[in-house]
């Protein structure tokens, strides 16, 4: 299907310069959001989208579902096949933007052609962080970010019996679940002393570890992989992984799932201000006029910390892209901010975790916890000055949205904080004035 789509898509000739009112580099969540927003405001202005993937409108968080067999390629399409055509977008798929000329306002592509823009969105996303590991070049070592990563992995799964997953974060857990479902024996190796350390505290992390171990996954923490060793019969093919504490784990595959870092290559050598990502304001505008950035490549506003930082999450990328799109098309829109927020479905243990969930300076924070081990329930809410700044819910997740709304609006919860952990917590629990703000009747 990808090749058909590419053929239907627009192409430019070598060395040619094309002028497009809006140019978007990257066509994942942020790029899609921008197209949708631009078209709400400006139905006709030319939009060109550049993506180095052959078929970009798929859901990246779903690549683990492709590996597990839960979703096929069609199901992964998060927008209809004709998304680009219906929005009258010139989609340059399978093409790479190699550099920017911000003075003359054009993007240079891989075959020497130029796309001139009035408004530019950089939505190049992230790329996997790959530490230096001896033997990482061997056949059977994978990263896990794109559809093509997932397809390469699927191609190996029939013959592989075991895998080592490096990283016990979201990506690591997702790929571990997928491989386990396909019958592989998996060892998850996490550098910190618990898995999901960025989003869970020790208690909730242990709850998840228990469930994962029941699925016959080996979890080892507090170490990493120091080198990857080949098979005795063929040194170029993965045979085992040597952990930092010395243990050697036999495996056919190694998946590097440590995290993503911004794809910043386009910004280098330009006037764009960068930190760990491209710096933007609340309009997703960079320091260079008419140039915007959104998604995993940008440092956008975190409303909990009150500052900009990297938050590589699909829903935030989409929202940031939308804000950029509105502003590019001339409709003023302000990004209300996001924060670290994750919903997890893996290994049948639903979890929602938002904001500061494991604060260290306990004097500033008030922590409300309800742990019912016999029902496998865990609820934790972190308050600062009577405002919710973080929450973790395990198994009983359905109140999360109401709590998140209170959190995002910095609602004072002093009067009803003892109710926050109640199983019956809902809009009816809130004081009338607050409820009216959230649920206006007319």
């Amino acid at each position: 299907m990808c090749s058909e789509l590419s053929q239907r898509c627009f192409s430019v000739q070598r060395g040619e310069t094309v002028i497009s009112k809006y140019v978007i580099v990257g066509a994942s969540a942020a790029g899609i959001g921008a197209v949708e927003a631009i078209r709400e405001v400006d139905p006709v202005g030319a939009i060109t989208v550049i993506s180095d993937e052959p078929c970009p409108q798929y859901s990246r968080p779903m690549i683990s579902d492709l590996v597990s067999g839960k979703a096929n390629f069609d199901k992964m399409m998060c927008r209809e096949d004709q998304f680009w055509e219906e929005n009258n977008v010139q989609a340059l798929t399978g093409r790479t933007a190699v550099s920017l000329n911000l003075a003359d306002k054009y993007v240079a592509l891989d075959r020497g052609d130029h796309i001139a823009f009035e408004k530019l969105l950089i939505a190049t996303g992230g790329k996997p962080f790959v530490p230096k590991i001896e033997g990482a070049e061997k056949e059977g070592v994978f990263t896990f970010t794109t559809l093509s990563d997932a397809e390469s992995l699927v191609a190996k799964i029939e013959t592989a019996k075991s895998a080592v997953v490096i990283g016990g974060g979201l990506i690591g857990v997702s790929v571990t679940e997928a491989l386990t479902k396909r019958g592989l024996e998996v060892t998850m190796v996490e550098l910190k002393d618990q898995i999901l350390s960025l989003i869970l505290d020790q208690t909730s992390s242990e709850m998840v570890e228990n469930v994962i171990r029941k699925a016959r996954v080996t979890i080892t923490t507090g170490q990493s992989v120091q080198r990857i060793v080949g098979k005795p019969e063929n040194n170029n093919i993965v045979g085992s992984a040597v952990l930092t504490k010395g243990e050697q784990v036999q495996c056919d595959l190694v998946i590097i799932a440590i995290g993503v870092i911004p794809r910043m290559e386009l910004a280098s050598g330009t006037d764009l201000k960068t930190n760990r990502g491209i710096i933007v304001d609340k309009f997703m505008h960079t320091n260079v006029s008419d140039v915007y950035a959104s998604g995993d490549v940008a440092e956008a506003y975190d409303f909990v910390f009150g500052e900009n930082r990297l938050l590589p999450l699909w829903p935030l990328a989409h929202q940031e892209g939308k804000v950029a799109g509105y502003n590019m098309a001339g409709k003023k829109a302000e990004y209300s901010g996001g924060t670290a927020m994750s919903a997890l479905k893996y290994f049948g243990i639903p979890i929602i975790s938002i904001g500061i969930t494991n604060p260290q300076e306990n004097s500033i924070y008030e922590i409300l916890v309800k742990h019912e081990p016999e029902r496998n329930l865990y609820r934790k809410i972190v308050l600062k000055d009577d405002v919710i700044v973080g929450l973790s819910l395990v198994n009983d997740i359905e109140r999360a949205g109401v709590l998140f709304h209170l959190m995002k609006n910095s609602a004072k919860v002093k009067k009803f904080k003892q109710e926050l952990l109640s199983e019956d917590f809902c809009l009816a629990t809130l004081p009338r004035s607050l409820r009216r703000k959230i649920y206006p009747r007319e």
Binding site: G33, S59, P61, M62, D65, K70, A71, K75, M76, M77, C78, R79, W314, P315, H318, Q319, K322, M341, A343, L344, K345, G348, P350, I352, I354, I397, E398, R399, A400, G401, V402, F404, H405, E419, D424, C426, L427, A428, T429, R432, I438, Y439, R441, E442
Partner: protein
Amino acid sequence: MKKIIANEEYCMGCGLCEVYCTVQHSKSKDIIKAYNRENPRPLSRVKLGVHKPVSFAIQCIHCEDAPCVNACLSGAMQKDDETGLVTHDADKCIGCWTCIMVCPYGAIKRDSSGKVVSKCDLCSELEVPACVANCPNGALVYKEVKP
């Protein structure tokens, strides 16, 4: 578009909205069969919230700029521009729970299979949604509201 409005002053907390929602979304559409024979029992998509003396029923309010649609990872949650409905395609849903995380009303649930979410569809095939039609005290009304 027409939406369901809850008047908490009239809600007695009887829960009939949940019962009739369950029946309407059952295979049999029969209250006895739905409750006694269907396994798993279909889930009510409306939730009676009670915090005495306050009670009222909450279901998806089909937001104009719906956070669940914006956040959906798979494209299962969509806004229908013509009807105004926020629609959910269970075949596309991957049960990632991201919509649950962002719904300010707590109006989205995991369905009884635990694999996808479930929410109010305004009983599209009925003139008046089942919860409204069977609310004995007029606490739920179905009327035209400004988007």
